[in-house]
C-alpha cells in the first residue's frame, strides 16, 4: 500500500489523547466551579451561555495539550471575547437607556463603569491628592457593581499572575484587532514595520507618559476623554458641544485606523503594539513575572519567522541574538508555535533555558487559562446569554 505523501501526512500529535484529557481535567473542574453560581441562580439563557463557555474553554485547553501549540487556540477564545464583549455591553446599554452615549447626568451620579485602561491615569492624582479622577463610584453597590475598587482589585490580582500576558488572556478589546489581523491574507507594510519597529514600539510609552502626566496636570482622565479607540464599541460621553464632537471623531478615527485598517494591512495588533498606553504600563509587570519566552541560540537559524509572526513586534534582531524577547512581549506563544527549529521556548526564570520548556508552558498556561476562564469566560457567557435572549425564533 502506498504511503501518504509527506505533504498530506497528518503531523504527529504532540501528546496522546489520554494524557491530554488528564492534563485538561483541572481546567474542566475549574470551569465548572467558576460557572456553578450561574447554574444555581440564573435563567435558561445564562445556563446556555455558561455551558457553551465551559465547553469552549475546556476544548481549547485540550487542543493546546494535544497539539502542543498555544497561539491559535488561545486566539479563538481571545477573538471571540473581543467581538462578543461589545455585543453584551451595548445590548445592556440599549436596554437600560436606549443609547450608547453617556449623558452627563450619569457621570455626576457615579454611574460610569470603570475600565482598567484608566488605571495609569488615576495613579498620580490618587497618590498626591487622594482623588480619583473618574466619574464612577469607589464602593461597589447594587446600583454600581462595576465600582472602581472592584475593578482595580480585579486588575491587580490578575496582573500579579499574568503580567503583560493580560494583553493575551484578559483584555476584552485586544481580540478585535487580533481578529482583523487573522482575517487578512497577506502581510503588507511588513518592511515598514520591521524598519521602524524600534521607533513604533516606543510610541505606547510616550503616550503612557503623556497620559499619566496630562491627567495629573488637568485632573481629568485624558486617555478616556480623548484617545480611547474602544469608546466606539462601548460607551462615550454624549455629544453636546464641539469639544465632545471632536472627541467622538477622534475615537472613531483611531478605531477605524488602528483596530481595523492597520491590522488588516499588517497582520499585527497595531493598536496594542504601537499605541496602547495600558499595554506599556502592563509591560512593567513583565519584569516581576516569572514566565517568559526565550531563544535557544544553538538551535536558532535566524530565519526571523518569529519576528514576522509576532503580533506586537516584540522581537528584534538584537533581542533574538540575545536570546530574549523585548519588554512588550505578551506571551501569546506565536513565535514558539511558528519556530521550525524549536529554538523559541517557554521559560521559567531561574531555570536553564530550553530544559523542560513544556513544563514552563504548562505552569504558565494553568494560571493564565484559569484566569481567562474566570474573567473573559464570564464576559463571554454573559454575551452569549444576551444573544440567546434576543434570538428571533425563541
Amino acid at each position: 500500500m502506498a504511503s501518504r505523501s509527506p505533504a498530506l501526512a497528518r503531523p504527529p500529535a504532540f501528546r496522546g489523547v489520554g494524557r491530554s484529557i488528564l492534563l485538561t481535567l483541572p481546567i474542566a473542574l475549574w470551569s465548572l466551579l467558576m460557572f456553578m453560581p450561574s447554574f444555581q441562580r440564573a435563567g435558561r439563557d445564562q445556563h446556555i451561555g455558561a455551558l457553551l463557555v465551559i465547553l469552549l474553554m475546556t476544548t481549547l485547553f485540550f487542543l493546546m495539550m494535544r497539539t502542543g501549540e498555544t497561539y491559535r487556540w488561545r486566539r479563538i477564545f481571545f477573538v471571540a471575547l473581543g467581538f462578543l464583549f461589545p455585543v453584551g455591553f451595548i445590548a445592556a446599554l440599549i436596554a437600560e437607556r436606549g443609547t450608547m452615549s453617556i449623558p452627563i447626568s450619569r457621570m455626576v451620579s457615579g454611574d460610569t463603569p470603570f475600565c482598567f485602561m484608566v488605571t495609569p491615569s488615576i495613579i498620580l492624582p490618587a497618590a498626591f491628592a487622594r482623588t480619583i479622577i473618574f466619574p464612577g463610584s469607589i464602593l461597589p453597590s447594587a446600583e454600581h457593581p462595576h465600582s472602581i475598587a472592584m475593578m482595580i482589585g480585579v486588575w491587580f490580582a490578575m496582573t500579579l499572575v499574568l503580567g503583560k500576558a493580560w494583553c493575551s488572556y484578559a483584555c476584552f478589546f485586544g481580540g478585535i484587532e487580533e481578529g482583523f489581523a487573522a482575517f487578512a491574507k497577506r502581510r503588507r507594510l511588513h518592511r515598514f514595520v520591521t524598519k521602524y519597529g524600534s521607533i513604533l514600539r516606543l510610541i505606547p510609552w510616550a503616550i503612557l507618559v503623556f497620559v499619566v502626566l496630562a491627567s495629573a496636570a488637568l485632573f481629568e482622565p485624558v486617555y478616556c476623554m480623548w484617545l480611547c479607540p474602544f469608546k466606539t464599541v462601548t460607551e462615550f460621553p454624549a455629544v453636546r458641544n464641539l469639544e465632545t464632537a471632536i472627541q467622538f471623531g477622534v475615537f472613531v478615527a483611531l478605531f477605524v485606523g488602528l483596530v481595523v485598517v492597520l491590522p488588516l494591512l499588517t497582520k499585527k495588533r497595531t493598536q496594542c503594539g504601537f499605541f496602547c498606553p495600558f499595554g506599556a504600563f502592563q509591560s512593567i509587570f513583565n519584569k516581576i513575572n516569572l514566565f517568559e519566552i526565550r531563544f535557544n541560540r544553538e538551535k536558532c537559524v535566524d530565519c526571523t519567522l518569529c519576528q514576522t509572526s509576532c503580533p506586537t513586534a516584540a522581537l528584534s534582531k538584537e533581542s533574538i541574538r540575545d536570546g530574549k524577547t523585548l519588554l512588550n512581549c505578551m506571551k501569546c506563544g506565536a513565535c514558539v508555535d511558528v519556530c521550525k527549529k524549536d529554538a523559541a521556548v517557554w521559560h521559567l526564570k531561574g531555570t536553564a533555558v530550553a530544559v523542560k520548556p513544556e513544563r514552563a508552558r504548562l505552569l504558565f498556561l494553568y494560571g493564565a487559562w484559569a484566569l481567562a476562564t474566570m474573567f473573559g469566560g464570564s464576559i463571554l457567557a454573559n454575551s452569549v446569554a444576551t444573544m440567546v435572549h434576543w434570538l428571533p425564533w425563541k
Binding site: G110, I138, P140, G153, G350, G367, A370, M374
Partner: protein, 169 residues
C-alpha cells in the same frame, strides 16, 4: 549548587503563582478592592460635586447645598456650586426656590424648573443669580460639569458657575 537553588526557587515561585491564580476569585479580588475602598480616596469634585455645606428643609423635600468647587491650576472646569433637590419624586411640578449658597443669610440664586411628567424626559431649568458672585443660566440642561440642571436617579442636580475673578478672592 547555585543553579539548583535558583531552580528550586523558580519552581516554588511558579507554584505560588498558581496558588495566587486560584485565590484570585475567592480572596484576592475582594481583598484588593477592600484595600482601595478604605484607602481614603474620594471622587474628584468635578464629578461628585464636592462636600456638603448645609441642608435646607422645604415642604416635602430638601435642598442640599455643596461647598464651592474650585478648579486646580490647569483644570479646564469653571468654578461652580452644586445644589441637589431630593427626593425628585416628592418635588412639586414647578419648583422655584431662592437659595442662600454662602451661608450669609441672604439668598444668592433663584433656581427654577418644571418637573416633566416622564422621569426619563430631559430636564431644563433656569438659574437667576441674585449677586455678582454667581452666573445666571437660562434654559440649561447638561451643558457642562459646571453648568447643569439634570435629573440623576431620584435627585435633581443643579450646578451654578461662579464668577472666576470674585471666586478667586
Amino acid at each position: 549548587m547555585r543553579s539548583r537553588i535558583l531552580s528550586i526557587l523558580a519552581y516554588t515561585g511558579a507554584g505560588l503563582t498558581l496558588l495566587v491564580a486560584v485565590c484570585v476569585p475567592f480572596v484576592l479580588i475582594q481583598g484588593f478592592s477592600n484595600f482601595v475602598a478604605h484607602a481614603g480616596l474620594h471622587i474628584d469634585a468635578t464629578y461628585s460635586g464636592g462636600t456638603i455645606a448645609r441642608t435646607v428643609e422645604r415642604d416635602g423635600y430638601r435642598i442640599v447645598v455643596y461647598q464651592p468647587v474650585q478648579p486646580r491650576l490647569l483644570e479646564r472646569v469653571e468654578p461652580f456650586v452644586q445644589i441637589v433637590f431630593e427626593p425628585a419624586d416628592s418635588l412639586p411640578s414647578r419648583v422655584s426656590d431662592e437659595i442662600d449658597l454662602d451661608g450669609d443669610g441672604r439668598p444668592d440664586v433663584r433656581v427654577s424648573f418644571t418637573m416633566p411628567a416622564d422621569p426619563n424626559a430631559p430636564l431644563r431649568g433656569d438659574v437667576t443669580a441674585l449677586n455678582a458672585t454667581y452666573i445666571s443660566l437660562t434654559n440649561v440642561g447638561g451643558e457642562s460639569f459646571s453648568r447643569m440642571v439634570v435629573r440623576t436617579g431620584n435627585k435633581i442636580v443643579v450646578r451654578v458657575p461662579l464668577n472666576k475673578e470674585l471666586a478667586r478672592r
